[in-house]
Symmetry: C2
Subunit: 106 residues, 2 copies
DNA sequence: ACCAATCTATAGACTGTCTACATGTAGACA
DNA sequence: TGTCTACATGTAGACAGTCTATAGATTGGT
């Protein structure tokens, strides 16, 4: 799966997995891999900047914890993050409908 | 509809409309607007570079014509363009399935 | 001693899309 | 005559999100 097709959709995917339970970066990558049936393997260089971006936008809040000597920064959805996710789900439906309609052979 | 979500999909959309009939750039923009129910209004600064990119890749061939004093560069799918379109339709199905699966609320 | 897995993070490159600009014709309207 | 809209192509430069590559650290297995 080429990189560009993900562009603009990664944020939604992250918000969606964090919506179900608060997760740290590494676990988000795992969750996306599992939920996509192995199709999605997002590199850390995409996820961590994405998380910072989403936190800067106010959609996520984060906090540090330590489990077995390992530092974890766990992210959770804020109220505006929930609203953003709902909006982005709608936008995805609209977008995918349009692309499917154009792409479908006549 | 934000610009980034289109990234990586515009090429497929162009190939799909040109597949049905050879079209020039301006007509491609029109066709995409019509087929998307007005959702897609791709700026010329995206379409023309895209057409050149696709021609450079060997997916499109082009030729000039003049209709009523207006220069038109009409594009048609090449054999490898047909193959690329078929592959990209498959990729879209895979991609949209994955995103839908992750985005769908549990 | 070494290596794989876990965990966070940054720097810099890449590239496709965007806005803005540049150019020109045809036809309608005042 | 002048102006406007639609038609038609194209480039330059800005923008931004993704990528690769690199860095550092802990834990646990062999």
């Amino acid at each position: 799966m080429k990189a560009d097709v993900l562009r603009g959709h990664l944020d939604s995917l992250i918000l969606a997995v964090v919506d179900e339970e608060p997760l740290h970066g590494y676990a988000i990558i795992e969750a996306l891999r599992v939920r996509s049936g192995g199709q999605l393997d997002i590199p850390t260089g995409s996820v961590y900047p994405g998380l910072r971006r989403l936190e800067a936008a106010g959609y996520l809040t984060s906090g540090w914890s330590t489990t077995g000597g390992r530092r974890r920064r766990t992210y959770a959805l804020s109220a505006s993050g929930h609203r953003a996710l709902a909006a982005q789900r709608q936008e995805w439906i609209a977008f995918s409908s349009v692309v499917s309609a154009v792409l479908r052979p006549a």
